[in-house]
């Protein structure tokens, strides 16, 4: 199994890469010892969004399906967690149960939507627009649930003002649950992220990933080779969407709050921007790139007042003009090219129409 961590579908297979990765992880693990609790919490907050980006990377970068629907599943996950948390409570590890249930629910929704689209042979821009339409419809729908009649059990959806009253995630522990906030939340998200990242690496380097990349490059040829393309697309879509729901649950639990604005535009475009900026064809690039971009945008917003949005726009334009294939895929290639040692794997072109 573990040999699948390295393979042709991921950058950074050499010993140097893994040494660096271990160092980064170590640094991340001891970071809270040195840092202000606020910074640790903020750090955790950035990591929360990375799951959604990794999901999109899998379906778009590897599978060639541009989905505008990440926030659709983000919203389903978040609202489901809210409703479950209010109605079922969160004592005795129930919070984690709600987490799992919410993600599962999003998985079911993804299976239905994915079945309709992928088995209906919807592809290309049509895929993007259908996912966008469903996403916006959900946002509009939730926006008009202000009245008291829109409640599931005790949980009021509360329209545009957003749902409240859910509890943070908590771990069952002897002598009382531990609320996952600040540093505990940080460690929880970090562990979850590392696990997800490694699992995704194994997935894309296994047969599944190879077929996925093949069909991204040429669906017809892959089909003629005897693969049922749709099954692989379907799998990637469901997994990717469930990762968006993980982000949704974590976000809702982090701020004990979610609104339809997290689902509709411009929120729906954000994952695409992160992934495209980082370089959609590689998991590591998306992981690092999303984190850096989130931190950079927040920092810009804090320190530059009204100029922030302009600077963000300029950064995007400049990056795309000078670093094709995404910022961090570009950096990764330079890093792989510099030492000229270890294994250099010729990667297939990442151009997808």
């Amino acid at each position: 199994m573990l040999h699948l961590l390295n393979g042709p579908q991921t950058m950074g297979n050499g010993r140097a890469f893994w040494a660096c990765a271990c160092l980064v992880l170590l640094a991340a693990l001891i970071y809270p010892v040195f840092a202000d609790p606020y910074d640790v919490g903020n750090f955790a907050y950035f990591l929360i969004w990375v799951f959604m980006a990794l999901g999109l990377c899998l379906m778009w970068g590897y599978g060639g399906m541009l989905s505008f629907g990440q926030t659709f599943f983000f919203g389903i996950g978040g609202y489901a967690y809210g409703v479950l948390s209010v109605d079922l409570g969160s004592a005795y590890g129930m919070a984690l149960g709600n987490f799992a249930l919410a993600v599962l629910l999003a998985g079911v929704a993804a299976a239905i939507l994915g079945y309709l689209m992928i088995y209906g042979r919807i592809g290309g821009v049509f895929f993007g627009i259908v996912t966008l339409a469903v996403t916006l419809a959900l946002a509009y729908f939730l926006g008009q649930t202000a009245g008291p009649e829109w409640a599931i059990g005790k949980a009021r959806l509360n329209g545009f003002n957003g749902m409240q009253g859910m509890s943070p995630l908590s771990l069952p522990w002897f002598g009382g649950d531990i609320d996952l906030e600040e540093t505990p939340l940080y460690y929880f998200v970090l562990v979850l992220l590392v696990g997800t990242y490694l699992a995704l690496r194994m997935l894309v380097n296994a047969r599944f990933g190879n077929v996925l990349v093949a069909l991204r490059e040429d669906p017809q040829r892959t089909e003629l080779l005897g693969y049922d393309v749709r099954r692989f697309q379907f799998g990637a879509f469901v997994i990717g969407s469930m990762l968006a729901a993980v982000s949704g649950v974590l976000y809702t639990a982090w701020g004990q709050f979610i609104t339809p604005a997290s689902i509709g535009l411009p929120a729906a475009a954000m994952p695409i921007v992160w992934v495209a900026f980082s370089g959609r064809s590689d998991l590591t690039a998306v992981l690092v790139g999303t984190f850096v971009l989130l931190a950079a945008f927040q920092t810009l917003t804090i320190y530059s007042e009204q100029a922030a949005l302009i600077l963000m726009g300029v950064i995007l334009i400049v990056t795309v003009m000078f670093v094709p294939h995404g910022c961090f895929v570009g950096l990764g290639r330079i890093a792989a090219w510099l030492p000229r040692r270890g294994r250099t794997v010729r990667r297939p072109s990442a151009e997808v129409g």
């Binding site: 309709l116 008009q144 535009l265 795309v320």
Partner: protein, 288 residues
């Protein structure tokens, strides 16, 4: 009876005009050229602002509106040369570029021109049929939408430029080998798309609040219409707009605007599910 029928038609015409006018520019830039233009709304805003400036400077409204379209078109041509041209082979990167552009433009407008602009005022004039009052200007918008559809069709089907443009979009290398000046065609086509977007802003400027983010109200409808129309925009945009306008008008009338909005989006999902190639793919299949 007649009054009611006309009222229905008026509602349909209003939604139809909105869909066609907001989609026209995008149909050229996204539908033909394949550029996912996230800054479409900003071209519309640009047209509206230019119109307002020209009007306040003393030009009569129709001339001011022409100015709006031309200004947006010229800006489009410049931006094409500077920003868009390297990305024809990488259409997805154009998404990031134009998104970045839209951030810069909206925020830049906010900082330079302030958070809102004094409006123009809709040209007065209305008429009554039965007990309903109607605004003449909305009918002008409907007529303009029909003209725009006709203009796009004639431009790309009947003129030399149009033939060159379509050839270039299909196979740029081949077209160039046959003597078409590729870069000029790209620039002009993009300019036409930007000008059409600007025209949309110019036409709606007298009826709307002018703020830097005003383009956002058009963006969903425009993308949806173009995509439902399918790959061949000359064939697909009109039937797509008709179908979506009928859906929306009916739902607006029966259940209110909320369900009109949600229904429009669900109709898009349904249409694409049934016609995975959009309207133009379906029409082409029936024709052959």
């Amino acid at each position: 009876m007649f009054a009611d029928l006309f009222a229905y038609f008026y509602q349909f015409a209003d939604v139809f005009a909105f869909l066609v006018l907001s989609a026209a520019g995008l149909a050229v830039i996204f539908g033909m050229m394949g550029i996912i233009n996230m800054a479409h709304g900003e071209f519309i805003m640009c047209g509206a602002y230019a119109t307002t400036f020209a009007y306040h400077a003393g030009l009569p409204l129709p001339l001011a509106q022409a100015c709006g379209a031309i200004v947006a078109g010229v800006i489009g041509i410049i931006l094409e040369a500077v920003l868009i041209r390297p990305f024809y082979s990488r259409p997805l990167d154009s998404l990031l570029i134009t998104w970045g552009l839209s951030l810069v433009v909206t925020q830049g407008t906010l900082i330079v021109l302030g958070s809102s602009m004094p409006g123009i005022g809709t040209p007065s004039g209305g008429f009554h049929i039965g007990e309903y009052g109607f605004s003449t200007y909305r009918m002008i918008l409907f007529a303009a939408a029909l003209c725009v559809l006709g203009f796009i069709y004639l431009l790309f089907k009947r003129t030399r430029f149009g033939v060159h443009a379509r050839a270039t979009m299909q196979n740029a290398g081949m077209a160039q080998a046959l003597g078409v000046r590729r870069n000029r065609i790209y620039a002009l086509t993009f300019g036409v798309g930007a000008a059409l977007a600007g025209l949309c802003g110019a036409l709606y400027a007298p009826t709307m609040t002018l703020i830097p983010t005003m383009g956002a109200t058009f963006i969903v409808e425009s993308f949806v219409t173009v995509v439902v129309g399918g790959a061949n925009v000359l064939l697909g945009t009109a039937p797509a707009a008709v179908a979506l306008a009928i859906t929306r008008t009916a739902l607006n009338g029966l259940y209110g605007q909320v369900f009109g909005q949600i229904g429009l989006l669900l109709a898009v999902v349904l249409i694409i599910r049934v016609l995975p190639e959009g309207f133009s793919g379906w029409l082409a299949k029936r024709a052959s």
